[in-house]
Amino acid sequence: MSKLEIKNLSFSYDGSNKVIDDISFSVPKGSFVSVLGHNGSGKSTLAKLIVGLLEKNSGTIYFNGEEVTKDNIQNFQNKVSLIFQNPDNQFIGSTVEDDIAFGLENRCFPHEKMQEEIERFAESVGMLDYLKKEPIALSGGQKQRVALAGALILRPEILILDEATSMLDPKGKSTVRKWLKRIHRENKELTIFSITHDIDEALLSDKVLILSKGKLIKEGKPQDVLRDEEALLAVKLDMPFVYKLEKELAGIGINSNADNVDQLVEDIWASK
């Protein structure tokens, strides 16, 4: 069963230029789906439409097979979390613990159980030692991990990442990804919907969607979609390093179908 299904979704800010143009796709339960696209392709708008920050012009959203309507949107929104791009602008509390607690406070979570819950989720992103720290004392990557804990503490069924790692330095990027992978491994029920323009991140997902000018132009397994150089170039994206290398190697007679560098190295050794 698909967790989230979008049918013929359209949206425009001004009524004439469609930012999201008749998009349909489905996100399987427990999967990691990446949405690729260049700046202005409508990626972030899509995320905002799904969580209800923007109101769609037309189309339907199905959650657990049920249509999301005005009557049940509250329940749907309680099950969806969104993490934004800028680490600073989503840090609401004055310290790490306050920020993680923010969502709990809004849900009227009992005060007596908060401390335990906060510590548990801070630990799940490796921020337990930073509970009393203020945002100014944290790196971008640490702030995003706090945002992750603040989102996960609400026990969402779908976690949407809107370029959550794009403003981070390489080290911050890799730590956030590392914790994200761990979270997904430990919580198989959680569906992750990641909006990115990082092709290497997309390579690790179960399904890739490519957006261009508000239209869904390609959809499928990363192994298939990301090998299509022409489609990628059309949206100004580059093929992943592994696939580019494979293409060059094919030219000198080494054939490989690997999806990661380690596998590729194995194939090169085997070809001799």
């Binding site: 309680n78 509390g93 809004n106 979570f109």
Partner: protein
């Protein structure tokens, strides 16, 4: 901008830090009101000032607030100090109790004027120091909770108590972020040739515009993103919420309350004596200084 240390909260585990924010705000105000009582006899004022300063120093010692940081931040006050001095010296004193200190032309300047200006300056310094102790030992978040608590009686008349407290706490949370941003924009504009430090008032004003506009644009963008982040995490200003931080009145608060309360009561008693009965004249009693 990291030099902006005046009254910024710093985490330490001291007696004062652990006090309930509501209590701290109340006691700070009580202390300030006490400072502002005016006595007939200079001797009483002088002795009380000494007591205030000693209490303040003890408070700073307990709360481990740096005296050097305080003095540094008071350094900017000298313009005000000179201004106050000048006003008190050039305005003739009504019924002086003390002899003439010196004369400027026909204007007789009494010691009263000098004492009065000194007294005012001392009060000012005490007020600032107290505020600084309050803000550097209280988490901004706790402070807003305390304000919210004090404003609760206004809720029945639909005064947006919670909204104001939340706005305040977010404003406080974003001060360091926006200061960083200011510094970044200043550097970026300086690298494009904007000169913030030289030139006449109009030139500088132009330079400030090159700072203010980008700062406002970015602050507005931030606020929109922040609002979105809050909505996504289920915030509704009208809805009922629970609290992670609860303010608790503990035995420490009782001790602090009794201490400052007794001091305040002492000031009141002295004041009543000073106004109604025979003025207490401690200095005259010990040192026989006529009229002081």
């Amino acid at each position: 901008m990291s030099t902006m240390t005046f009254g910024r909260y710093s985490f330490r585990d001291t007696f004062v830090h652990r006090l309930d924010a509501r209590n701290k705000i109340f006691l700070t105000l009580l202390f300030m009101v006490g400072i502002f009582f005016q006595f007939n006899k200079w001797s009483t004022s002088l002795i009380l000032s000494g007591i205030y300063i000693v209490v303040l120093l003890i408070l700073m010692l307990i709360s481990r607030v740096s005296l050097i940081a305080l003095l540094k931040s008071l350094g900017g006050l000298w313009v005000l100090v000179i201004f106050l001095m000048a006003i008190y010296i050039f305005i003739p004193t009504n019924n002086p109790k003390l002899p003439v200190a010196f004369t400027i032309g026909t204007l007789e300047v009494h010691w009263d004027a000098i004492c009065q200006s000194g007294y005012i300056i001392m009060r000012l310094v005490l007020m600032i120091s107290l505020t600084m102790i309050l803000t550097s030992t209280t988490k901004p978040m706790d402070m807003t909770y305390a304000f919210e608590w004090y404003m609760t009686p206004l809720k029945p008349i639909h005064f947006p108590v919670h909204e104001i407290a939340m706005t305040l706490s977010i404003a406080l949370r974003f001060i360091p972020t926006l200061l960083d941003e200011t510094e970044r924009i200043m550097k970026a504009q300086a690298s494009r040739g904007v000169d913030f430090n030289h030139g006449g008032i109009f030139k500088r004003f132009g330079a400030i515009i090159a700072l203010i506009i980008p700062l406002f644009v970015s602050a507005l963008e931030r606020s929109e993103e922040l609002a979105n982040a809050m909505i996504v995490r289920g915030y509704d200003p009208k809805a009922k919420r629970t609290r992670y931080r609860l303010l608790k009145f503990s035995w420490r608060d009782l001790i602090a309350f009794l201490f400052i309360g007794l001091m305040f009561a002492g000031i009141i008693v002295l004041f009543v004596f000073d106004r109604t009965g025979e003025p207490i004249d401690i200095i005259n009693f010990f040192f026989k200084v006529k009229g002081f």
